[in-house]
């Protein structure tokens, strides 16, 4: 191949993709999490442990910060130091909760830094993590502003499921060995099953066909999971999803670093939007009664 050919091919490749990034999405899975509805019960986290074969690491390793919770529930109290007014207003109302799971960013910071391309963007709009390819350089976790990637510091499978507990493992996905990075996959095994089922029945994937374990489990229905691909153009292509409707209702747009906040009804935001990671999870602000 001559140099000329290479340049010509390259320019042909670039044409139509000037803005860069992945364009040919099949789906773009996303979530809407209503923090008003979240009661901090941790059921989503437990469901995630059960569904995704997450290792239970024990008290000691947990306190060392070696836990494997793909979905963690963060508790925040308003700080007493922040001024008289806020203390009297909020402190007695207790904690606020934020369920944090991989934000499946469209411009993910973890993807470009992996030396072996073990994490990449799928046509489903997911940040896939290929366990078999991972060499454990842990750069992705360092570059994740949300700190939502977890590393197998030990061979947890050896002691996390003593017999007969290993019988409870989900056969749809693997148990990871030491030295591998892992994170929330939006229950990719369920997405695959749902797509396969729809294909067998000869129809399009509809909203509600696929549920993540956390969304399925949430007792208050705070988590909504669905397709965001045709979020601004519901008539075309994939079916309109409840998640996309919520995004539209709160006027949250993909690809923006700051959302419209003109009225108090527009509660939607995405975490660390200003970093331009373009996450696919919208949170709805908690409204607190003063």
């Amino acid at each position: 191949m001559s140099l000329k050919n290479i340049f010509e091919d390259w320019s042909r490749y670039r044409r139509g993709r000037e803005e860069g990034g992945f364009q040919d999405y099949e789906f773009m899975w996303g979530m809407a999490i209503d923090l008003n509805k979240c009661i901090g019960c941790n059921a989503c986290s437990i469901a995630c442990y059960a569904e995704n074969n997450l290792a239970v690491v024990g008290k000691e390793r947990f306190s060392k910060g070696q836990a494997m919770h793909w979905l963690r529930l963060e508790r925040y109290w308003d700080e007493p130091d922040l001024g008289e007014e806020r203390v009297s207003n909020y402190q007695h109302l207790g904690a606020s909760f934020v369920p944090m799971l991989c934000q499946q960013c469209n411009a993910a910071t973890c993807e470009p830094v992996c030396p072996v391309a073990a994490t990449y963007h799928t046509p489903d709009g997911l940040n896939a993590q290929v366990y078999n390819r991972c060499i454990g350089s842990r750069y992705c976790s360092n570059n994740c502003p949300y700190r939502l990637r977890y590393f197998n510091f030990y061979s947890y499978y050896e002691d996390s499921w003593p017999s007969p507990l290993h019988m409870q493992l989900n056969p749809d996905l693997s148990v990871r060995d030491k030295g591998v990075m892992e994170k929330c996959t939006f229950c990719v095994q369920r997405i695959r099953t749902g797509k396969d089922k729809a294909a067998r029945e000869g129809r399009q994937v509809e909203d509600g066909d696929i549920q993540t374990a956390c969304a399925q489990t949430c007792p208050t229905g705070a988590i909504t999971f669905g397709d965001l691909l045709n979020i601004y153009n519901p008539a075309s292509g994939n079916a309109d999803s409840k998640t996309a409707q919520m995004w539209r209702k709160h006027q949250v747009e993909l690809g923006k670093t700051k959302q419209n906040k003109q009225t108090p009804d527009l509660r939607g935001y995405r975490i660390f939007e200003s970093l331009n990671t373009d996450p696919c999870i919208m949170f709805l602000e908690r409204v607190r009664e003063v």
Partner: protein
């Protein structure tokens, strides 16, 4: 006190004798040093075997502290490798001939510290048996590394730099190896015969040698600068506060040259003392090295100030908070120690008396390197402990596994270096001769005019033979 870089009246044979003497009959101190190195290394090997079997957990690495001492020490060793190139390539090109007696061991230091640094990514990754996946080898599955990742650039940069610096070291040694060959017996004779590649010292060989050496020097300088720039892009290319700093490439290169110069001072003093190289590694050369170190220390300090001020006057609140946390937070003692050792301590080198005081210099050079090691640690760890997400704020202290491996790396480096000084002349004999030769010329200009005259000059020539050569 000696004022000349080197005495002009040293005889050629004396140089050979002095340098070759350093390669024979190790004394008790040598064996003690070997034993200490092996001792440190054995602890590291034990720790690594344990870590290999159990996982990265015992190293106390955790979420969010995914990187720690391994990466810090990796940068430290990569940095140390830069001074050899500075001395042998940059000073070679600008014709600073005082480098000649000390560049050989500096260059060996380059190669060996790269060999040490290269171990750390392997130790550090979770599945080290798959390390080769970062290299772009042809596979029938058509899987390639991710060329956007700075870690892949690292792999390329370090392997290239290691290969070229080892070649450069070897090429520069060929005339000396020939001297060894001519003076050796037994297995050493065979070894040096092989290594000296049939060097006879005729004109053609010297001409080719000079050309190759100059070419390699020119090739190595941009390479050395790019290597540490690429290592800095491990951090600068990320999105994290305290890592995402535009001045990191020059900052890292300056820090690299700085720690390398400090290490050269340490090894200079050790070699001078143990091998009695007082006639070659003279105090004026030491003074010049000190001045070089001082200058680079000031560059490093300046780049530090740039980093602080650009964050302070910038609009990145998170980076500002992190900067404040570096000064006041849980890692502040180490940060202040780094600033003291890195920026305040080098001012002692501004004093003539200290520059000529060997024990003081030995301590200072070691402390400078402690400061530079702390610098690397303070780049890696505070950012991880305090980044964007408040839920992930954490303070971590590395466990014995990490400390053993870090200390063991010094043992490994020491072992390589100790073996080196007994197998290869640690002072470049032919270049010292060259240096003395030039100095004699400077002392007697007339000889120079004769020696540098060409055949063609003679026809157009003017006069009788130069006065210096009349008797000859």
């Amino acid at each position: 006190m000696q004022t000349k870089d080197i005495n002009e009246d040293i005889k050629w044979a004396q140089i050979n004798k002095d340098v070759l003497r350093s390669m024979e009959n190790p004394r008790i101190g040598y064996w003690i040093a070997i034993a200490v190195s092996l001792f440190l290394l054995s602890f590291a090997i034990g720790a690594e075997i344990y870590q290999y079997n159990v996982g990265m957990g015992p190293a106390n690495l955790n979420w969010p502290h995914m990187w720690d001492l391994y990466i810090a020490t990796f940068i430290f060793w990569i940095g140390m490798s830069h001074s050899g190139t500075l001395l042998s390539a940059i000073l070679h090109i600008i014709q600073a001939d005082w480098r000649k007696p000390i560049y050989r061991f500096a260059e060996a230091m380059t190669t060996f510290s790269l060999m040490t640094a290269g171990l750390f990514p392997i130790i550090h990754i979770g599945r080290l048996w798959n390390m080769y996946w970062v290299l772009p080898y042809f596979s029938d599955r058509g899987i390639w590394p991710n060329f956007r990742s700075p870690l892949v650039w690292d792999a390329f940069a370090i392997t290239t730099y290691l290969t070229s610096s080892a070649l450069f070291l070897f090429i520069g040694m060929i005339p000396d190896l020939a001297i060894c060959r001519d003076n050796a017996r037994g297995w050493r004779k065979q070894l040096y015969t092989l290594l000296s590649l049939g060097w006879r010292g005729d004109d053609r060989q010297w001409r080719n040698f000079r050309r190759t050496y100059m070419l390699m020097a020119c090739f190595l300088i941009p390479l050395a600068v790019s290597v540490h720039s690429i290592v800095s892009s491990d951090f600068a290319m990320s999105i994290m506060p305290g890592w995402h700093v535009t001045t990191f490439p020059p900052y890292f290169v300056a820090g690299a040259l700085y720690s390398g110069c400090a290490a050269i001072m340490t090894l200079f003093i050790l070699l001078r003392y143990f091998f009695r190289f007082e006639a070659y590694m003279t105090m004026p050369i030491m003074v010049k090295t000190c001045k070089l170190t001082f200058a680079i220390a000031m560059v490093w300090t300046y780049l530090n100030l740039i980093e602080f001020s650009s964050i302070w006057y910038g609009h990145d609140e998170v980076a500002k908070e992190l900067l404040l946390a570096k000064f006041t937070g849980p890692y502040s003692p180490y940060f202040w120690a780094m600033l003291f050792f890195g920026s305040v301590l080098p001012f002692t080198l501004a004093f003539e008396k200290i520059r000529n005081n060997i024990p003081a210099l030995f301590v200072i050079s070691l402390l400078l390197n402690v400061g530079m090691w702390l610098e690397r640690w303070m780049i890696v760890t505070p950012t991880l402990s305090l980044s964007y997400h408040p839920f992930a704020f954490d303070v971590m202290w590395p466990s014995w596994v990490q400390w053993f491996i870090v200390l063991g790396s010094f043992g490994w480096f020491g072992l390589l270096f100790l073996v080196f000084v007994k197998i290869v002349p640690s002072v470049s004999m032919y270049e010292v001769k060259e240096m003395i030769f030039h100095r004699r010329h400077l002392a007697n200009k007339d000889i120079a005019s004769v020696m540098h005259r060409r055949e063609s000059d003679r026809q157009s020539g003017t006069d009788a033979p130069a006065p210096g050569l009349e008797g000859a």
